[in-house]
Symmetry: C2
Subunit: 207 residues, 2 copies
DNA sequence: CCAATAGAGAACTCAACGTTTTCTAACGGG
DNA sequence: CCCGTTAGAAAACGTTGAGTTCTCTATTGG
C-alpha cells in the first residue's frame, strides 16, 4: 500500500502560520456560503482547507471561535465614514455598506453564533461588539457633521435616534429575510432617519 | 434482573395525547431556561418529560419543529392591543408586553431557531412570522386609534415608522443583550416613536 | 371485554466532536 | 549547511447525540 510518488500527503508542500490561517478562514466562509452556519462542521472545514482537525483545534477552542475569527477576517475597513456632503447621502451610503455586510457570510455567521453563544456572556459580548459598535459610531460621526453644517440641531441627536436606522436595517436583513433594495433604504432614510434629525428629505439632493 | 415491583416503567401510569404534549413542551422550555437552546438535546427533553425519544419523533421531525411548537404554546394571547387612551400609554404598554416575551424562553428560542433555520426558507418564514407580524400589526392598530382621536396625522403613518419601535426593542434585547428598563422604553417612545408620528411627548400623560 | 393505538425503554447505526499518535516538512540557530 | 525544534497531515480513537427500530404493555374506544 505504498502511495504513488507525489500523492503521499507527507511529501506534499505544507503551509504554516498566516498562509494556513487564511486558507482555513477561506474554507470556513465557503462552507457558510454554501451550506450555512448550522451545517458547518470542523471536519468539512479541515477537508476543504486541506488541513487537519488537529491544526484547527490547536488554533481555536471550537467552532464558534473559529467562525468569529473568520468573520472578523472578512470585515472591511470601517475607518472612513462616508462623506458626501449631505446627511441623506451619507446615511444612504452607510446603509448600503451595512447591507452588503449583513446579507453575506458575515451576517449569516453573526446570527448563527449569537444563537449558539447566548448562554456564554463573554462570547455573546464579543459577537455583539462585532457589528453594532461600528454602525452606531459611524452614524454619530455622520450626524455630527450634519450638525456642524447646520443641517440639523444638536439637540435632536440622541442615542436612540442614532440607533433607529441601523436597527431597522438589521431587523430587515436578519429577521424578515426580505430583500433590501435601494427603494427600501430610501424609505428608511426619508421616513425615519431624516425626520428624527429634523431634516426635510425633499430639501436634500439624491444620495 | 426482575425490577422491583412498582419501578418497572411498563407498569407505571402512562400519559398520552394532550397531556403528554404539554409535559414535553414544559420540558423543552425548562431545558431552554436552564441551559439555552444550543445545549438542548432530544434525549434530555425525553428524560425530563419522562417520555421516550420515539414519542418525540413520532410528533415532530426534529429539534427545530419541537422547539417552535413549544414556543408557540407559551405565547400569550395577543388579540387585545392595549388601549389606555393615549398613544404614549398604548405604545409603552405594548413594549412592556413585547419585552417580557423576548427576554424569556421565547426570545432565546427564536434566536436559536433562526440561526439554525436560515438555510431552510420555509422554516425561517415560520419563525419570522412568529413574533414580527404581531408587533407591527398591534402598532398599526394603536396608531390607527391615535389618528382617529386626532392625536396624529394619518399622513405620517408609514410601514417603516410602525416598525421603528419594535425594531429598536428587538435589537436591544436580542443583539445587545442589555437590560431593558422602563427608562429605556421611555427613551424609545419619547425620542423615536412619538416624534415619528408627530406627537409631542410632554403633552401626553404618563403611560 | 377485546382489538387497536400509542407510549416506555432499550438497543442500534451513523455522524461529528475533540483528542491522541505517528510521521515529516518547514524553519531557525549555530 | 546541518540539525534540533516546531508545527502540520493523516489516521485512529472514545464519546455524545441524532434518529430509528424493536419489544412489551398501558390506555382507550367500541
Amino acid at each position: 500500500m505504498t502511495p504513488a510518488p507525489g500523492t503521499d500527503h507527507r511529501t506534499l508542500p505544507r503551509r504554516r502560520g498566516a498562509a494556513l490561517n487564511s486558507a482555513i478562514f477561506e474554507a470556513v466562509r465557503a462552507e457558510i456560503a454554501e451550506s450555512g452556519y448550522a451545517a458547518l462542521t470542523m471536519e468539512r472545514v479541515a477537508e476543504r482547507a486541506r488541513a487537519s482537525k488537529a491544526s484547527l483545534y490547536r488554533r481555536w477552542p471550537g467552532r464558534a471561535a473559529l467562525v468569529l475569527d473568520a468573520a472578523y477576517d472578512a470585515m472591511p475597513d470601517y475607518s472612513s465614514a462616508p462623506d458626501t456632503g449631505s446627511l441623506r447621502g451619507d446615511v444612504l451610503a452607510l446603509m448600503r455598506q451595512i447591507v452588503l455586510l449583513l446579507e453575506g457570510v458575515v451576517g449569516e455567521a453573526m446570527i448563527g453564533l449569537l444563537g449558539e453563544s447566548l448562554q456564554n456572556p463573554d462570547a455573546a459580548a464579543q459577537i455583539r461588539e462585532f457589528g453594532r459598535g461600528n454602525m452606531v459610531r459611524t452614524m454619530r460621526e455622520i450626524v455630527g457633521r450634519a450638525v456642524a453644517r447646520g443641517e440639523c440641531e444638536a439637540g435632536l441627536v440622541t442615542e436612540r435616534r442614532l440607533e433607529a436606522g441601523p436597527a431597522l436595517l438589521r431587523q430587515r436583513v436578519m429577521f424578515s429575510g426580505l430583500p433590501v433594495g435601494d427603494d427600501y433604504l430610501q424609505e428608511v432614510v426619508d421616513d425615519v432617519v431624516l425626520p428624527l434629525f429634523g431634516v426635510r428629505p425633499e430639501a436634500q439632493p439624491e444620495g
